[in-house]
């Protein structure tokens, strides 16, 4: 199976209340590009947190890269997480280290060679237009700049799967376009991309992306793309 993410009857409940997510059934194919939309509070970030292994579901089965990750031993989680690049809605940069070190962090965690780290981080920072701010602390950056750092950190290891929560929420339309273009390019190189967003412009920019709509914890499948995923799409214009 080429499914990189597979959900079967997945439910998530915070505490004792009603389920925040219910009966989620879908497959994200390797190399696909998905947009996850839905009103605020619908559970988009919650769904992403299940995929990124930040929490385990209350019920159901989740497979990542073909393996059941619900009952998986805790010691094996880091290996899965290293294959996923995450852009958080609230960035989650580490405040005590420089922009450069924040972007380098995933590479340091996997024990990459310092030369490789230098080259990759420098290149990515230039790409998101922050090469001049490499030595700055995150707190010295604007919201949009921090978001670009978060994106650089998410892609620096060339992960198999990129999960981005509102990656263009704090940037101007031009930077939003650049970020979207970066994610598209990575997708064309084979990376599976899932973006949660309210951004109408972003949605409009990707008519070929598979849409997922969350509504009060359940998934609509307006295009039928989830149950019957289209074949690998042709490169975008």
């Amino acid at each position: 199976m080429a499914g990189i993410v597979e959900f079967q009857k997945v439910g998530l409940r915070y505490g004792r209340g009603a389920e925040t997510l219910s009966d989620l059934d879908f497959v994200l194919e390797r190399g696909s590009f998905h947009l996850l939309t839905g009103p605020s509070g619908a559970g988009k970030s919650s769904l992403l947190s299940l995929i990124t292994l930040a929490r385990r579901p209350s019920r159901g089965l989740i497979r990542l890269f073909g393996e059941d990750v619900v009952t998986i031993d805790r010691a094996r989680l880091p290996a899965f997480r290293r294959r996923i690049g995450i852009v958080y809605q609230d960035f989650r940069l580490i405040p005590s280290i420089s922009v450069f070190e924040n972007v380098a962090l995933p590479l340091r965690i996997v024990g990459a060679h310092p030369n490789e780290i230098d080259a990759s981080v420098t290149e990515l920072l230039a790409w998101v237009g922050l090469d001049a701010r490499a030595r700055a602390l995150p707190s010295m950056l604007s919201g949009g700049e921090q978001q670009r750092v978060a994106i650089a950190r998410a892609v620096v290891t060339r992960p198999d799967l990129i999960v981005a929560d509102e990656p263009t929420g704090n940037v101007d339309p031009e930077m939003a376009g650049r970020i979207f273009h970066l994610l598209e390019s990575l997708n064309r190189l084979g990376t599976t991309v899932l973006i949660a967003t309210h951004d109408i412009h972003l949605i409009g920019r990707a008519p070929q992306a598979a849409m997922m709509r969350l509504n009060r914890g359940t998934l609509d499948d307006p295009t039928g793309a989830l149950r019957h995923p289209p074949a690998r799409q042709a490169p975008y214009p």
Binding site: T52, R74, A75, P78, A79, R81, R92, P106
Partner: protein, 286 residues
Amino acid sequence: MTGLAPDLLAQRRLLGPLAWVIAAICLIATLASATALTLDHGARSLAGSLAGRATVEVSSDDPVERERHAEAALRLLRGRPEIVAATPVSQAEVARLAEQLGADAEDGLELPTLIDVTLRPGVSADALTAQLLPIPGVRLLPQAQTLAPLAAVLEALDHVALGVALVAAVSALLASGLAAHAALAAHEAAADILHALGATDRQLSRLLERRIGFEALAGAVLGSLMGGGAILFIAAKLQGLDKGQVTGTSLHFGDWAVLAAIPLLLSAAAVAMTRVVVMARLAKAA
């Protein structure tokens, strides 16, 4: 594998409260250990110097008769194969001892003649009692017996000092455990991010171990230096007291090595405790 940079975990001060707690604990542990070692030497040297020794007391109201009996006892003792040496104690020394025991030389009390006897190893002083019986006014004072209460006091103090050192070690462990808990809580956000980026529990734990190990070592070295200073100060004061008293009240080279090892052991214990606490806490998370 290259470690993660320690500055991942923000820090307001170079040294947190743990350093000061460990400094105090290390000071106590150093002083208690030094006390235990000193008392141990004291007890040993006391036992060693007493085991093969006895004192023969010759008393009589008539000084001439006393001298005669003393001569006889001395001759008898020197003729025995189990006696290594028999030396009369000078009258001046006897007078000094008597004074120490509270007797006044002006009392007109006749002082006894004392003979220090060194026995062959393994020979009990009791065996001499029968030999000396025929000479009137002669009594055997086995020193080990007269000083037994002192030896017992030394031993008890030694145990108390060791106990204090142990309590200090346990306190260091508990303080490190608490500090590890606190550090993990304080750095929860950074820890969550590192986890999400694929860091293992061991990688995270190592960051905290390094932080807490550094604090503990800094504090322990400080406490150790203060303790060493206090010991040298007391040793200087003891120098005057040591003359003619029970010897062996000073620390040997090996003892200083033991004392120097205390801060290292405390820091190692702090690191080990951090690892246990952090790994256990992380294992409980999702």
